[in-house]
């Protein structure tokens, strides 16, 4: 069977890729996508850990999966809101590139 | 009836100005003169209170009197509003009463936002009364801050900026510098107070009350090394307010920017707060620390005297000259304190009172001159005597008192400081006597340049001092001459106060 550590490495890799995407991409939509990747990486790690625990007691490995479900719901809500904001941004500044949005500059 | 007055006297003394300033906040209108009349009323009461307190102080018994303790924070901190006056604070309370009343009376010339001006002025004087009348370290610091902070607004809003050609002194700069200096000073003091509290809490007798700490220090709770590093905190912390040499630059700049009444209170009373702090906290609680640091303080005091006198010699602005002369006179106070000698410290306290009166009078007159001529530059002002004889006479008396002419209060105080200093640090005392001679140079230069000589036509239409200024000035002159001729009533109280300082 596949050891837990591999899953953790996979999630780490995926998380780092997502992080790079958030930091490097110019378009806001792509940043949202990268955030999705990061969330999924966390999920992998969570579920891997949950399912590798011996099924002791009542909540054996259900909790891991349930939390993952909640993460997914939050992610969904987050994407909805993020894209609404991006639409608003696009409508006001007619651009989606993060470089050009710097009203909060010093 | 009178002994329960004693009970509540000091509390009243603090609350009357405080309540007055609070009530005034709700008075209608800004331009109306009512707020000025109300302020006179409040200042009058506090003057009467301070007079009663001073004259009911029984100098035979000595020690703390009018003792009253209001529990504030029991338990480990043991902070309570412990009121009490001894021989040193009684004359200073009287001084504050007199200077406050004089300051409020001559603030007739304040035009905009009269109400807020008096709110702050009364709050400031409540702070000063509080600092002198309290026996608890925490509240001493509390009122010390209350006395200092309104200065910022008073100078910042009602002050005046002057352009000296080569450099500009705006009132904001003056106010900001003053507050930053004083707050920095009070930080040091705060550290000192906490150090005291922590050191005292070793044997679970931690308290903020002065007498408690004094007993602890007698019983050897504060060892030598502790005292030696804590005393400079108080010396420098309070010294900043007392115009100690390297930290004095805020005082002349503060004076130049401040309106008349604020200058009177600032030089008249506020600088004494610093010196009083050194005595009350530094010398009472840390006698060995005081012992080791005294050579430093007395040399700084001498530098103060000479430095102030010399730099006053070449100033061209009236308020700068008086500002630097206060630095020089505060130098005498610091020297007096540093002599740790019965007569020297007594001289220091008397100098505080006499210098307070002198400088308040001088600022009052400079204020009236500035109000009429709108300039304080002595190269432009000359020959005012023919137009303003009363002002000139008062200014001459104040000037002569400050250069130590016998028969006026300045001489008695300086003489005692010299006597004390001669016994302890001879060479520095001789330097200080030379400093006194230097004072004569810049005072006479000032008198000859601005008041004597024939008036040029620009000052042809000057009116003499208004009846208000004349009465206040006259009162100050009378007190200065009275102390100069017969200082016994004041000295009796001061002697008893100085007697209680350990190590003197």
């Amino acid at each position: 069977m596949v050891d837990l550590v591999w899953f953790q490495l996979l999630s780490a890799a995926l998380f780092v890729i997502g992080l790079y995407g958030v930091m490097a991409r110019r378009s806001a939509v792509l940043i949202v996508m990268s955030i999705e990747l990061m969330l999924n990486a966390v999920n992998i790690n969570l579920i891997a850990a949950a399912s590798h625990m011996e099924g002791t007691g009542s909540f054996a490995n259900f909790d891991g999966q349930l939390i993952a479900i909640f993460i997914i719901t939050v992610a969904a809500a987050e994407v909805g809101l993020a894209l609404a904001i991006i639409l608003r941004m696009f409508r006001n500044r007619s651009t989606v590139n993060v470089d050009e949005i710097d009203l909060m500059k010093w | 009836m009178m002994n329960d007055f004693d009970q509540v006297a000091l509390l009243l003394l603090i609350l009357v100005p405080l309540a007055g300033s609070l009530m005034m906040m709700f008075m209608p209108g800004d331009q109306s003169k009512e707020s000025w009349y109300f302020a006179i009323f409040v200042a009058g009461i506090s003057l009467i209170l301070s007079l009663l307190v001073f004259f009911r102080y029984d100098y035979d018994a000595g020690g703390f009197q009018f003792i009253r303790t209001y529990e504030w924070l029991p338990g480990p901190l043991d902070i309570n509003l412990a009121l009490g006056i001894d021989g040193i604070s009684a004359p200073l309370v009287l001084l504050n009463g007199v200077v406050l009343f004089g300051g409020v009376l001559i603030s007739q010339t304040i035009t905009h936002r009269i109400r807020d001006f008096f709110v702050l002025l009364l709050a400031l004087s409540a702070g000063v009364f509080g600092t002198f009348a309290v026996r608890d370290l925490f509240f001493l610091f509390f009122f010390y801050e209350l006395a200092v902070l309104p200065m910022y607004l008073l100078i910042g809003v009602w002050g005046s900026s002057t352009d000296f050609g080569t450099f500009l002194r705006t009132k904001e700069y003056g106010a900001m510098k003053l507050i930053l200096f004083l707050v920095a000073g009070s930080i040091l003091v705060w550290i000192g107070i906490l150090a005291l509290y922590v050191e005292a809490s070793d044997n679970s007798a931690a308290t903020f009350s002065l007498q408690g700490l004094a007993q602890l220090s007698e019983s050897g709770q504060f060892d030598e090394t502790f005292q030696t590093w804590v005393f400079p905190l108080f010396m420098v912390g309070f010294g900043v307010l007392a115009g100690l040499w390297p930290f004095h630059t805020w005082s002349p700049d503060g004076h130049v920017a401040a309106p008349t009444a604020v200058s009177m209170l600032h030089a008249g009373v506020l600088m004494k707060l610093g010196a009083y702090g050194i005595i009350r906290v530094g010398m009472f609680l840390l006698p060995e620390g005081a012992e080791n640091w005294m050579p430093v303080l007395i040399s700084l005091g001498t530098v103060n005297v000479l430095y102030g006198a010399v730099s006053a010699m070449s100033q061209n602005d009236l308020k700068y000259i008086i500002g630097y002369s206060s630095v020089s006179h505060m130098g005498y106070v610091l020297m007096g304190i540093a002599t740790l000698d019965n007569v020297g410290v007594g001289g220091a306290v008397l100098q505080m009172v006499s210098h307070g009166l002198m400088t308040a009078l001088m600022f009052l007159l400079v204020g009236s001159v500035y109000h009429r001529t709108h300039t304080r530059d002595i190269t432009v002002l000359n020959g005012l005597a023919s137009r303003m004889p009363v002002n000139t006479f008062f200014f001459a008396i104040a000037g002569l008192a400050s250069l130590g002419l016998p028969g006026l209060s300045g001489f008695i105080a300086e003489f005692m400081v010299f006597t004390g200093a001669f016994r302890t640090y001879l060479p520095l005392a001789i330097l200080a006597v030379i400093g006194a001679a230097l004072t004569a140079v810049y005072i006479l230069r000032l008198l000859a340049r601005t008041f004597m000589g024939e008036a040029d036509e620009r000052w042809a239409d000057l009116t003499d001092a208004s009846p208000m200024e004349m009465s206040v000035g006259g009162a100050f002159v009378a007190i200065i001459i009275f102390i100069g001729v017969w200082p016994a009533p004041l000295m009796r109280v001061i002697n008893v106060g100085v007697q209680t300082i350990p190590g003197v």
């Binding site: 958030v22 | 730099s311 070449s314 019965n342 007569v343 006479l444 002697n495």
Partner: protein
């Protein structure tokens, strides 16, 4: 005797009354001040009388061990610094000391002050600040009398300063004139520098003896309790104060400029009363000076001699009448100091009084001349005796007496000084003193002949003689200048000479050194003849003598460049130093030490602001780096 303190109190009371109610009183209160000083004069006679019939038994009197004179001391406590009995506490007293020295001084001051005040009634008539003049006049008289009566050094110092302030006010009386303002300021500051020495001396004595009273100090010196170092140091310091007030050499610059004040002021203050305060101080503190091997007295003698010589030479060449008299005063003060330096205690006091009367007389005469001719330059005057006979006579009496012509007061006192110098000092002193006597006769004669003899210039033909109010004081002083000399002889009856009245240690018999007297008479008469020929008759042309000593003359004419040196010192050293300190204070202490940190914090704040770029990705990058840092930190801590 105990009521002697009334004398100064009369005048102290008169001064404020005149200032406040002056406008409403007739003659603006002048009569009140004259009344006060006259009252003082009367009380003086009572004090003199009661002292005469007092003896060691009367209350408060004792024959003092130092001076040997009967002196009475009454004192009351003023205030005490420090609770009595506590360590280091000092109790300060008011007190008066009456002894022959005080009585002599009281007599001189009250009499001359009275004369001058009557004189100035006429002289100052019509001056806008007439009342203020008399107020300060009585304040001056009061403080001078307190100075003379004081029994402790503190009271002496208080009066000393008050006298200084009154002279400042009186010199600068016409403060519209810039010269008067400068002179007043100069006078006060120079005397103030001397006072520093006095105060330090007093405090040194107090430090050693523990009290300010003079009697304790003298007692300590006599019993040897006061160490030699302290005694000599404090004596020299006291002499420093005396030099300031009595215009001895380095401190004499203020007296000639003080002539800017009204002439009666110069008569009273700068001839008869204030300037002798220094001599009085040295006389009063004589036990201190002559204790151990009397080193201070030698200094006093040397300084006195140099002052006398130098001032006499300058008087010879100056042209302004009042300046001549001023320099002659300095010269005679030098002589008094010299005589004190030569243990001539009685001679000094005798010369002090004789000089006081004659110099006041000369100044009043000069005043009446100035009053009517409106200018002071001797060049303008000449032959005034025809139009001002009384002033001429009186002036010449004064001039002759100070010149040393026999029979007149000046001769006897100068002769006494010569005797004293001859007894106690070496030959050099005697020769120089005789030379100074010659010079003083010369310049006195020159002044007299230049003003009153020679032909009368037409522009001052209209000149009228002094009015009555000015004439009487001059006449009275003239009589005294004439007759005062004779009190040195021991008259039959109880009074046997001044030597028996005022002395130090033991009563001195009057003795006349024949050869010394003869030499001084010859010198004086020769000097007057020369002056007569040179200035009245113009037979000896002065230009020839001038050209021969041109080098020396130039130096003397510029008053040995003292003024220029002091001015240079003040301008270059003091003002530059104070400007430097003020600049240092503003530039360095203020702009660098105070504003420096403020600027640094401001710049630091600006730098910090740059990291806010507004771009989202910079913030995410920051977050990433933060996490990495945290990770490493946790990792490092955990390993």
């Amino acid at each position: 005797m105990q009521w002697a303190w009334l004398i100064p109190v009369f005048c102290f009371a008169a001064a404020p009354v005149i200032v406040i109610f002056g406008k409403f009183l007739p003659t603006k209160g002048a009569f009140l001040s004259i009344l006060a000083i006259a009252g003082g004069f009367v009380v003086f006679w009572f004090v003199f009388g009661s002292w005469l019939d007092a003896d060691a038994a009367t209350k408060g009197c004792f024959t003092s061990a130092n001076t040997g004179m009967l002196s009475c001391d009454y004192e009351r406590s003023w205030f005490n610094a420090g609770v009595i009995g506590a360590v280091g506490s000092v109790s300060l007293h008011w007190g008066i000391l009456i002894d022959p020295l005080t009585i002599a001084m009281l007599g001189l001051v009250t009499f001359v002050a009275l004369m001058v005040q009557i004189y100035s009634m006429a002289y100052m008539m019509g001056d806008p600040r007439f009342g203020w003049y008399f107020a300060v006049h009585s304040l001056f008289a009061a403080s001078m009398l307190t100075l003379v009566l004081a029994d402790n050094f503190l009271l002496l110092y208080v009066a000393w300063e008050l006298v200084g302030i009154c002279s400042y006010l009186l010199i600068g009386f016409w403060h519209e004139r810039p010269a008067a303002r400068e002179a007043a300021k100069k006078a006060f500051i120079v005397t103030r520098i001397g006072d520093v020495g006095l105060l330090v001396g007093i405090l040194l004595i107090w430090r050693d003896v523990g009290s300010f009273s003079m009697l304790d100090a003298f007692e300590a010196v006599r019993t040897g309790a006061m160490s030699e170092g302290v005694a000599t140091a404090s004596a020299i310091l006291l002499f420093l104060g005396a030099m300031g007030k009595s215009a001895q050499v380095p401190f004499h610059v203020w007296l000639p400029d003080a002539m800017e004040g009204p002439t009666p002021v110069s008569a009273l203050i700068h001839a008869a009363t204030m300037v002798i305060a220094g001599v009085y101080l040295v006389a009063r503190a004589f036990p201190l000076f002559e204790a151990y091997d009397a080193v201070p007295l030698l200094i006093v003698a040397i300084v006195g001699l140099t002052t006398a010589l130098m001032a006499a030479t300058i008087a010879l060449v100056s042209t302004d009448l009042k300046r001549i008299l001023a320099y002659s005063t300095i010269s005679h003060l030098g002589l008094m100091m010299l005589s004190l330096g030569a243990f001539g205690y009685t001679a000094a006091i005798f010369h002090l009084m004789a000089h006081g009367f004659s110099k006041a007389l000369l100044f009043l005469g000069a005043g009446s001349v100035l009053h009517s001719t409106e200018f002071q330059e001797t060049g303008e005057m000449g032959g005034l005796r025809k139009v001002m006979p009384l002033t001429a006579i009186v002036f010449s009496i004064g001039a002759l007496s100070l010149g040393g012509i026999p029979v007149l007061a000046g001769f006897w006192s100068k002769d006494e000084i010569l005797v004293a110098v001859n007894d106690n000092r070496n030959a050099a002193f005697i020769i120089l003193t005789l030379f100074t006597a010659l010079l003083s006769a010369l310049y006195m004669g020159r002044a007299m002949f230049l003003v009153f003899f020679g032909e009368l210039k037409d522009q001052n033909s209209h000149v009228h003689d002094a009015p009555l109010a000015m004439a009487i004081p001059m006449a009275l002083l003239g009589v005294l200048a004439l007759g005062f000399g004779f009190i040195t002889f021991n008259w039959p009856g109880s009074f046997n000479g001044l030597g028996d009245f005022v002395f130090f240690g033991h009563a001195e018999e009057f003795h006349f050194e024949v050869w010394l007297g003869a030499v001084s008479i010859v010198l004086a008469v020769a000097a007057f003849m020369f002056a007569y020929l040179a200035y009245a008759k113009r037979s000896i042309s002065m230009e020839a003598t001038r050209s021969r000593f041109s080098g020396v003359l130039k130096v003397i004419e510029n008053k040995y460049y003292f003024d220029e040196v002091y001015q240079w010192v003040v301008d270059k050293v003091v003002l530059v130093f104070s400007r430097a300190v003020a600049f240092f204070d503003r530039a360095i202490v203020n702009d660098i030490i105070v504003n420096g940190p403020a600027d640094i914090t401001r710049k630091f704040g600006i730098a910090l602001r740059l990291h806010v770029t507004g771009h989202v990705y910079t913030y995410t990058l920051a977050m990433a780096l933060g996490t990495v840092g945290l990770g490493i930190f946790v990792w490092v801590r955990s390993v």
